[in-house]
Each structure stands twice: as structure tokens, then as C-alpha cells.
């Protein structure tokens, strides 16, 4: 769990950025083929309608028989159950390769295995890696495309946010007092106890932790300097712990307070239930969101199965399965309005007060430049 906590948790922050930056790509020209009833090849279909509707897509996917996925740990955002559900519903075999691989590994695998039947059909990527590799994606719009907030998708369907969460503070309630604000962490009770998941110049989770802190200290997405100043004060107070928090460090009590994505902190709490009272808290008015990006490999060996997988993930069923794993599905709002959301799982999410903030590409670049120049100095 923990390698993935840094590995995958780290990459989520910039998901939104991806979508904005990939918007400029043009859709591929449609070629006529024999696969779909509507006269469009599955590999160039940009929606189920192109193939003659859902039934035709299911038929085409069944003919292919297999779906190759990569870097989907079974205990990550409930992927184990999602894969099982997909196999049971459509009778396709899912080959899950390298579950612990990183986002960058996914792209490397697609390049190395290009043209082979083992190449990944679909990707689940962190934002920065996705935005750097948009030329590898096939555009596709799922049936529920309109439910997805415009900020969280590419207009042509070249990479769409799938699930994510908010930056949060997890803490061992048995060891430290419950923080009510981020500023509380400067108190002597937290001496040598506060850790950030990853260096912000390196890992997305750490980056978003600094952004959240900036917002909590009166900063803006355009100016995160107050976040860096806060960590500097935290370091001066002797409260900042420069350890990379993992499931193991949390369990052993080495990192009693951890800045990380809420779904990872919540998962940690569930795992440690009975041994440690690990709680998750999202500071009011400082809600920073980060989503993963779903995309189809344009050289997918099973193009119809890849598209059917997308339809499944963005269906009520798929979205609720992510929710069950503690992640916030991208159609959350629409599903709440329609009453199709899993209410119990939704109620179990940590409460977030305030409007979630997503950084634009320009804001992220600015923040990165500031962190590169100032982070090491602030906490060195």
C-alpha cells in the first residue's frame, strides 16, 4: 500500500492541468471499417454511438474477448472489485499487468509493447504524466460525458478525470490533539510530529499539501508563498518531520500527523481500525482537489474493450465502486442530484467545507517555479 501511497498519491494533483493543456489536440479522422454496425472501426470510434450503440460496443468488445489494464492495484480506490465487476458483467477477461507500476511506467509499457497483443488498452494516469503524453491517447466520449464538470475533462474526450480526492490532514487521535485549523499544527503539542507526503517539487501529494496550506494561510492559487512560509515556521518550531510518510511509518507511530489525499488517509484509518484511531480532517476553506486521468491507448490491441471499460467506469455502477473505495468519483455532483449515488459510501467521506480549488496549468507552473527556488531553503 505504501509504495503506492507515494507513487500514485503523488501524481494526482495535476490531473486538471492535463485536461486543459490537452484540449488543443485534434480528433483523428474517422475511417470506415467493418467492426461496428455504423461503419466505424472500434479503434477510431469516439463514442458508443459511432459503433451503433452500446449493444454493438458490447458485441465488438466480446469478440475481442480481453482487456489489458496496467498499474491498477486491487486495493487502490477499490480497483479489485471494479475489475471483478467488469469481468462478471461483460464476460471479458481482464489482464492486469504490473499493478504497482507508476504513471510513467504505464506510458513506457505502451511504447515498448506497441503493436503487441499485451500492450495496455487503457491508462489511469497522474496529471503531469498524462499531459506530457497526450499524443498517445485516443479521444472518446462516454455516454455520461455531459455529467463530468467541464474543468475536469478534455472537450474532445482526450483524457478525462476519473476519480480523486481532496488534500487532508490525517492524525493519530490517540497521540495528538485534534487540529481544528492548519495553524494549530504550530503548537508545541505537534513537536516533531508533522509530515508531508513527499517533497512538493517531486510528488503531487506534497505539492497539493503546500497549496492547501497556502490557502489556509490566506494565500491564493496564484501565490503559494504563504504555504512555503508556513512550513518554514513549522520547521523553525521543530514540528516539521522530514520523513516520507508511509503506511508503515503511520502504523509504527513515527508520523503522527500526515498531509495526504483524503482517500489515502481514510483508507489508512480503515486499515488501522482497532489498533489506532487515525482520523482525517479537511481544513475549512482550504479544499484542494486532485484527480486521476483516464485515457485510451490509441494503439490499444483491444479498442472496443478499451471503450467498453470506459463506459463501465463512468457508469453509475463504476463510479459508486470508486466511491466505495474512498475516492470521489468525477460524476459525484450529477449522481447526487440524480439520486443514483451510493448514499452510505458518500456519507462516509470526510466533510469538506468550502469550494474545491483546482489549479490551472499556469498556476501550477508558477507554483512549481516558486517551490523549486524556495522549498529547499525554507525547510533546509
Amino acid at each position: 500500500m505504501k509504495t503506492r501511497m507515494t507513487r500514485r498519491g503523488g501524481v494526482a494533483a495535476l490531473a486538471v492541468v492535463t485536461l486543459i493543456s490537452i484540449g488543443a489536440c485534434s480528433p483523428p479522422t474517422k475511417s470506415t471499417g467493418s467492426t461496428g454496425t455504423a461503419g466505424v472501426k472500434a479503434s477510431s470510434a469516439t463514442s458508443a454511438t459511432d459503433l451503433g450503440g452500446m449493444a454493438a460496443l458490447v458485441d465488438a468488445a466480446k469478440k475481442e474477448g480481453t482487456l489489458n489494464v496496467i498499474a491498477l492495484p486491487p486495493d487502490w480506490a477499490n480497483y479489485g472489485e471494479i475489475i471483478k465487476g467488469f469481468q462478471a458483467k461483460y464476460g471479458l477477461k481482464v489482464n492486469s499487468a504490473q499493478p504497482d507500476a507508476s504513471s510513467a511506467d504505464e506510458i513506457t509499457a505502451a511504447k515498448n509493447l506497441k503493436g503487441q497483443s499485451k500492450a495496455p488498452d487503457v491508462f489511469d494516469l497522474g496529471g503531469a504524466v498524462a499531459s506530457a503524453n497526450t499524443t498517445m491517447f485516443a479521444p472518446y466520449k462516454v455516454a455520461t460525458f455531459n455529467d463530468i464538470p467541464a474543468l475536469l475533462k478534455d472537450a474532445k474526450g482526450l483524457g478525462v478525470s476519473d476519480y480523486g480526492g481532496y488534500m487532508s490532514i490525517g492524525y493519530d487521535a490517540g497521540k495528538v490533539p485534534a487540529p481544528k485549523t492548519v495553524t494549530d499544527l504550530l503548537k508545541p503539542a505537534y513537536k516533531g510530529k508533522v509530515a508531508l507526503n513527499g517533497d512538493p517539487t517531486k510528488a503531487g501529494a506534497g505539492f497539493s499539501g503546500v497549496v492547501m496550506t497556502a490557502l489556509s494561510q490566506g494565500g491564493t492559487p496564484n501565490d503559494i508563498s504563504k504555504g512555503v512560509d508556513f512550513f518554514k515556521a513549522l520547521k523553525t518550531a521543530g514540528n516539521f518531520l522530514p520523513i516520507d510518510p508511509t503506511g508503515a511509518t503511520i502504523e509504527s507511530g513515527q508520523t503522527p500527523v500526515v498531509f495526504d489525499w483524503d482517500y489515502l488517509n481514510v483508507a489508512q484509518g480503515k486499515k488501522l481500525k482497532g489498533t489506532m484511531n487515525w482520523k482525517t480532517f479537511i481544513p475549512a476553506g482550504a479544499v484542494v482537489g486532485g484527480y486521476y486521468v483516464q485515457a485510451i491507448n490509441k494503439d490499444a490491441p483491444h479498442p472496443a474493450a478499451a471503450r467498453l471499460w470506459q463506459e463501465y467506469l463512468y457508469s453509475d455502477e463504476g463510479q459508486n465502486l470508486w466511491l466505495k473505495g474512498g475516492a470521489r468519483p468525477v460524476r459525484e455532483k450529477a449522481m447526487v442530484a440524480a439520486g443514483t449515488i451510493d448514499k452510505a459510501a458518500h456519507a462516509a467521506l470526510p466533510k469538506a467545507v468550502g469550494t474545491p480549488v483546482f489549479l490551472t496549468k499556469a498556476q501550477t507552473d508558477k507554483a512549481n517555479a516558486y517551490l523549486t527556488a524556495n522549498w529547499a531553503k525554507a525547510i533546509g
Binding site: L14, G192, K193, D199, A203, A373
Partner: protein
């Protein structure tokens, strides 16, 4: 021809594991992401955080090399005076053999297990009312990391320096004494000149040993990347800031340059020392 054939495996080996990687680093330092020539990577080296990382790495390596060399040499001399083949001597040399290789993640873990908030020592002294749990010195490059590095530098010094100390013949000392020389005279004119080149050489080895270390630092310090080896790792593994691989290669080139400077200093110093001590 036959002689050349004999060294072929050595040259093949150094070409593959030293020559080619060095070439990749040098070429990479002068091209951008698209393979066009540029000096941008080198000018990026003047960024304050990279300069600071170079300074930290150099200071850390120099301090631990000197500490390791001095204490390691004293220990080596003490060991050499022990009975050859005796239990104490065999115990210490084999112990140092293990400790010198006891670096990286395992060593960092040993320190974490001892001194960290849940460490053995921290929990033990807590019983006596001493609170070590709220200090973070272990994770500072100029405190904890320096201690950890010195921990593997001293035994390494003992191993590489012991043969030189063992080369000192008791007869030389007796000869010096029979000619009326004091202990100072013996060290200044006999043992010193003999040991100086190996001492400085060993210290250089310790310097490069610390300068290139990465795993130990990474296991202890995960914030701020204070060392240059960590900064290079950053450029290759960052998920946030992409496309800086070639700046990393420029930093590696900088490391090569620093080691080259140290090597040159070594040669000059060794020549000077030999002259000074020999005169």
C-alpha cells in the same frame, strides 16, 4: 599483442560501466529535451538551490572524510599495535569489514530504529523522563546525516589504512631511537612520510565515497533534497516538474568536475607532502 589481450576484459569493463555512462552524461548536459545543443542546462546550475546542494554535498563529504580519516587512522594504529593474529585484532578488523559495507537503507534504518520518535533509545530514555521524541536532528543533513556517514567512514578508513600502518617496521623505530631520535622525530621523519600518501589517498576515497552516496540520504531525508545526488534523483523521478533530465546530467557533470578538482588537489598535495616530509 599478448599483453594487450590480457587487459582487454578490464578495458571492456571500464568502457561499458565508466566510459559510456560518462559520455552520456557529458553529451546530455549540453543538449535540450529535443536533442538540440544548448548551454541552458549548465546555466541552470547557478540556481541557488543547486548551488546550495553542491555546497552541502561538498561540506558533508569533506567533514566526514576528515573525521573518518583521523579517527579511522588512530583506530588502525591502535589495532596494529595489538598482537598479530590475536582475538581483539581479528574481531575489530572483521567488524570494520562489516560496518564499512553497512551503508544505504539498512544503516539509515538502524539509526531510525534507534533515535527516531519510536526508536529504541528514545523510548528507553523516556522512562527516565528525557524527551528525545520531539527533536528532528536525525533528519538534518549537517547533524544526523553527518553522524550516519561518519559511522561508515571510520571502519572503511580502518580497512584501507591498516595495511599501510602494518607496513611500519618496529626496527625503524628502534633505529630512530638508537640514533637519539624522539617519538616526534620518528613520526615526523620516518612514519609520517611513509604513511602520508596512503593517508591522503584514503581520505580522498572517503570523500568520493560520501560525495556519491545516495540511498542513505534518501532513506533519512525526504524533504528539500539538500544533497546534489538527491537533486539529480529529483530531476529523474519528479512527477510534478517534468523534462529536467538533462539538467540532472549537467549536475552529474558538475560532480565529475568536483571530483576531478579533488583528485588534482590530491596529486599536488601528495607531491608537496612527499617533498616536505622527505626534506
Amino acid at each position: 599483442m599478448g599483453a594487450l589481450l590480457g587487459v582487454m576484459p578490464f578495458f571492456t569493463y571500464t568502457t561499458i560501466f565508466l566510459g559510456i555512462p560518462t559520455l552520456i552524461v557529458i553529451v546530455g548536459a549540453f543538449v535540450d529535451g529535443n536533442g538540440h545543443p544548448t548551454l541552458g542546462n549548465l546555466s541552470a546550475l547557478t540556481q541557488p538551490q543547486i548551488v546550495a546542494a553542491f555546497v552541502h554535498s561538498t561540506v558533508l563529504s569533506a567533514v566526514t572524510a576528515v573525521l573518518g580519516a583521523v579517527f579511522g587512522a588512530l583506530l588502525a594504529y591502535a589495532v596494529s599495535t595489538a598482537h598479530e593474529g590475536g582475538l581483539l585484532r581479528r574481531l575489530i578488523t572483521s567488524l570494520c569489514g562489516v560496518l564499512a559495507q553497512f551503508g544505504g537503507v539498512t544503516l539509515a534504518f538502524a539509526f531510525i530504529a534507534t533515535f527516531s520518535i519510536q526508536g529504541f533509545l528514545t523510548l528507553w530514555v523516556k522512562k527516565f523522563g528525557i524527551d528525545l521524541a520531539s527533536t528532528t536532528w536525525l533528519y538534518d543533513w549537517d547533524k544526523g546525516l553527518m553522524l550516519v556517514y561518519t559511522y561508515f567512514q571510520i571502519p572503511l578508513m580502518l580497512i584501507v589504512f591498516l595495511p599501510a600502518v602494518e607496513g611500519l617496521r618496529p626496527q625503524w623505530r628502534e633505529a630512530a631511537e638508537s640514533l637519539g631520535g624522539s617519538t616526534w622525530h620518528y613520526w615526523r621523519h620516518v612514519a609520517g612520510p611513509i604513511l602520508a600518501p596512503s593517508f591522503i589517498g584514503a581520505m580522498l576515497l572517503l570523500f568520493t565515497n560520501a560525495f556519491s552516496a545516495y540511498a542513505t540520504a534518501m532513506a533519512l531525508i525526504s524533504q528539500g533534497s539538500p544533497l546534489i545526488s538527491q537533486q539529480i534523483g529529483n530531476t529523474l523521478s519528479s512527477e510534478v516538474i517534468l523534462g529536467q533530465e538533462n539538467i540532472g546530467k549537467a549536475m552529474a557533470l558538475g560532480m565529475v568536475a568536483i571530483v576531478a578538482v579533488v583528485m588534482t588537489l590530491y596529486v599536488v598535495l601528495e607531491r608537496r607532502t612527499t617533498k616536505w616530509l622527505g626534506s
